[in-house]
Subunit: 342 residues, 2 copies
DNA sequence: AGCCTAAAGGAAAACGTTTACCCTATGCAA
DNA sequence: TTGCATAGGGTAAACGTTTTCCTTTAGGCT
């Protein structure tokens, strides 16, 4: 039995002895004015009856829902949840709701979720960094986003340019390069990288930045010094285990994990192999998630303003400017105990 | 310019040469059948035109949105984001979207968000563990949820009974009690608790369970052995610092932090005071969040099936059974290096 | 007094769906 | 042949809003 007990605007209007039109204007405002006494009377009856406007009905006539939709890979991952926190803060400021979906890192789900988003007519769609290498499915996704934007929606991609959409970019390349410099300064000479899949741009950029940073210091990576695995905590464990298998031949003294989460897994992998992170082998991550300073040794990493990225994405989406914009968010190296001077 | 380029059902119907009713039945099914050839033709034109049903319009007539709404305190907190992950999994199985809001642990915001939720006519509202001590505002919140349920909605509270609503409860009391036993078995004698605010039931239960567990072993807490602070990582730091100030008088050998996050903060507080966690003072947490095993020393804690809690909450909300149900999720102690045998 | 304008209320048309109801053709039993 | 059920199409009413007009009233000018 739907439509059961919801109080409708018509009921409020009747109870207040005015027309529906007037009630609407009194409650949700409009260009048109309503005399103060009537406005008050309507507001009061609405309050008494416990009236709540039906958002869907408003959306149908207005053509857009007061909603920003966010697509992330995995909300349990602190990287994404931090960004989400920023999105929610921005949405709240703008008086919008947030609908969220996870793609579980599968592009078929990503496509499906974006179609569902579109059906909701949200004010903006924000897609967070799960961009894969282009294939026919990502093309279709881009297509969906295009037509969504053509129909008046706003699209912002976080950490995955280049693209025709608004971008909030994180300086992965620069950050990784600076990290490389810092690690060399700390005495690192033989490096390994515990990397997430290179199908994700984020990883590609971090690897490239790091490699180039080493090159600028006259160093290079040995063959097999990059171990690739899923971009998760467990992936870090796997990749590190693989690197440790080549420890002698690589003469590993420092490992860069392309995310803090991977670094955590890597540290645990080291310990289970009897290697002490920060002592036997230096370890650095990327992202500076909340817990990076709480582990032992505290993790050297690159600070990324994740929450700000989410926040700015909303602002960008809601800005007037029709020209596609790209926002660069700076990163900064944070040296901690996991990479002592050698 | 709203209503701009969205393809409508009427357009599809026209293009396919059928009535709107038939198009509707062909695309979204119903009790009524549609001949196979027409169904195909409509489906194909819809595809060609890129038709997407307007969810809001459907919601208006159906009376409920295909949505489950989730209210959490802070999505960046791994406790809440893990639960959210479970909710999203459950929602996806049921073919529902998820709209999420954060209360930032303020009950005024909580009230506001719940009203906004209601305006959306979601199929279910799930509120996660931010329940405070009863006051006039929480009463109003309960009120809102009541009338929401009366109008056909489903409400599930996670980790915050007792209440007239469906409940997914986490055995905080039992888990904490078992943890106390285990810590005594490991040789702990003088305990401290770094606790979150007792305005949250979760904390009350965990403290009570732990205290009672100690009592069952003939031990009791000294005066001032409970330090209360915000239920966050920083709160853990604060509470631990406070406990360390009374270290001598308390003869502290073991500290229980009422969440893993607090435990992380507590560990860092120890180290900044020159105390080595797990060696000088044993440390245990609660929740078993993903990173608990990656810190050093690995954190002894109580495993809580967070993701399952979220998942089950959705199932519970969507179940037929009208009688309020309460689901108990078991916990289990996980002993790790932070609480060595003494 | 007469006229015009502005202010503010109401009636009704939209918005994009679903669904109750109506209509026609077809098949089948008597 | 008649009667009748049924399958499957269409028309139009609903859902709860906003907004476009239309209408009335009041007030200010000349």
């Amino acid at each position: 039995m739907p439509h059961s007990t919801h109080v409708t605007l018509a009921q409020v209007a009747a109870a207040a002895g005015v027309s529906i039109a007037t009630a609407s204007r009194a409650i949700n405002g409009s260009t048109r004015k309503v005399s103060e006494d009537i406005r008050q009377r309507v507001a009061q009856t609405a309050e008494e009856l416990g009236y709540l406007p039906n958002l869907s009905a408003q959306t149908v006539v207005k053509g857009a829902a007061p909603v920003v939709a966010v697509l992330v890979s995995d909300i349990a991952d602190p990287y994404f949840s931090s960004i989400s926190a920023g999105v929610m803060a921005g949405a709240r400021e703008a008086g919008l709701m947030v609908t969220m979906a996870t793609s579980e890192r599968r592009s078929e789900d990503e496509l499906e979720m974006i179609r569902t988003f579109r059906a909701q007519r949200p004010r903006a769609i924000i897609v967070v960094g799960s961009r894969q290498e282009p294939d026919e499915r990502t093309a279709e996704i881009e297509n969906q986003l295009q037509t969504y934007r053509d129909s008046g929606g706003h699209v912002v991609l976080i950490s995955q340019g280049p693209s025709p959409f608004d971008l909030v970019e994180i300086q992965n390349y620069d950050g990784a390069k600076q990290l490389a410099h810092a690690l060399v300064d700390r005495g690192g000479r033989s490096f390994g990288i515990a990397a997430g899949r290179r199908s994700l741009r984020t990883n590609v950029d971090r690897i490239a930045g790091f490699t180039d940073g080493l090159a600028e210091r006259g160093l290079s990576l040995a063959d097999g010094a990059i171990a690739e695995a899923p971009f998760t905590r467990d992936g870090g464990f796997t990749a590190m285990t693989e690197l440790l298998g080549r420890r002698e031949e690589l003469q590993l003294d420092t490992v860069f994990a392309t995310s803090d989460l991977m670094a955590f897994g890597a540290a645990t992998a080291m310990r289970s192999a009897g290697v002490i992170p920060g002592q036997d082998i230096s370890l650095a991550g990327f992202d500076n998630i909340a817990l990076a300073e709480d582990v032992t040794p505290a993790l050297t990493t690159v600070d990324v303003p994740l929450e700000e990225a989410g926040y700015r994405a909303v602002k960008l989406a809601l800005a007037e400017d029709p020209a596609p914009e790209s926002l660069q968010l700076g990163t900064s190296v944070i040296l901690r105990g996991s990479t002592p001077q050698r």
